[in-house]
Symmetry: C2
Subunit: 191 residues, 2 copies
């Protein structure tokens, strides 16, 4: 039996992406983004409310970093989605985390996150409905050696990322691997 639940925002899962930018004075701002997606192999579309301090920083010329939130940093990551850099001037400092300037883009890299996408601000646009989009072009990915496997690639289990569920407004761990994409379904080809 199926039940109608009405209009619910139940696309699942969402990423927990931590966006880092500089303001015009070089101060760091960070926010927590759940609404974003790859739109090309080197491009992420960020759907943000234009009032964010992040958006003001991007319009003023900052690039951005996108760090993947991890279980170890869930409290800090959640805090970055609670307060606004518009009103809490020391928002990033309150987290106790540390930054260095990216070597590839004009944006801060938060040292404690093990996986960070360094992105150029490719475009800032409204669509025909008034939605505000930031296009983040990935120019490099920076990874802690601690999350790499013997081949030098990211090991998803070592990354220990979290995901966001808009179904119950909660964060979840990533569980066991189920299998390889473009592989598990191959038997249906033979039918």
């Amino acid at each position: 039996m199926k039940k109608d639940l009405g209009v619910k925002s139940f696309l699942f899962p969402c990423p927990v992406a931590i966006l880092g930018t500089y303001d015009e004075q070089g101060s760091v701002n960070v926010m927590n983004m759940a609404w974003g997606t790859l739109i090309d192999t080197n491009m992420i579309l960020c759907c943000l409310t234009e009032e964010h301090k992040t958006c003001k920083n991007l319009k003023a010329g900052s690039d951005l970093t996108i760090a993947i939130a991890t279980k170890d940093l869930v409290k800090e990551s959640d805090y970055f989605g609670i307060d606004s850099g518009n009103t809490v001037k020391d928002k990033f400092a309150r987290s106790g985390l540390h930054v260095v300037k990216s070597q590839h883009v004009n944006a801060p890299v938060i040292e404690e996150y093990p996986l960070t996408l360094e992105c150029k601000t490719h475009a800032i646009r409204h669509d025909e409905d008034g939605n505000f989009f930031v296009y983040a072009e990935i120019v490099n990915v920076l990874a802690d050696e601690t999350i790499l496997n013997e081949k030098g690639m990211v090991d998803v289990k070592k990354l220990n990322a979290i995901l966001f569920s808009q179904i119950d407004n909660s964060y979840y761990e990533v569980g066991d691997i189920v299998g390889k994409a473009w592989n598990l379904g191959l038997p249906f080809r033979g039918k």
Copy 2:
């Protein structure tokens, strides 16, 4: 120590969203989408290659359903990302799954998926860079009673959804809950 990995599509995680549409003859097509995001509480942006059979069906007037892939259906879900409805005319039939027509939109509901977003085709657009976007307006969410809790809301653990990792092209289970959003970070406010 951090290491440069170059340009990698490492936004994590991606959803495993199964898009259902009708062609002009009423035949069912399905595809597997990893690149999509909420852009409003009732709107999903789907970033698709325009050549998909799904896009042809949407341009011809179909609405769409977006089912959340689950571990039980990982093989079928993966298959929907392997073959194309442009060339494999019985693609959906090969899965052995079943559909009924949505009561809310002009699109098929796959009976076996426990959570389905019934969506109107709000808009089909190219952006200034040539990216192709389908805007899917959620008009109802349909859930199996088996995944609901005692309050009639979706229980994320019962849903048993999977996620897609573009880091290693693999599907993963959802693990344990870590905590509530807009809550875990509150202690940093007091500092």
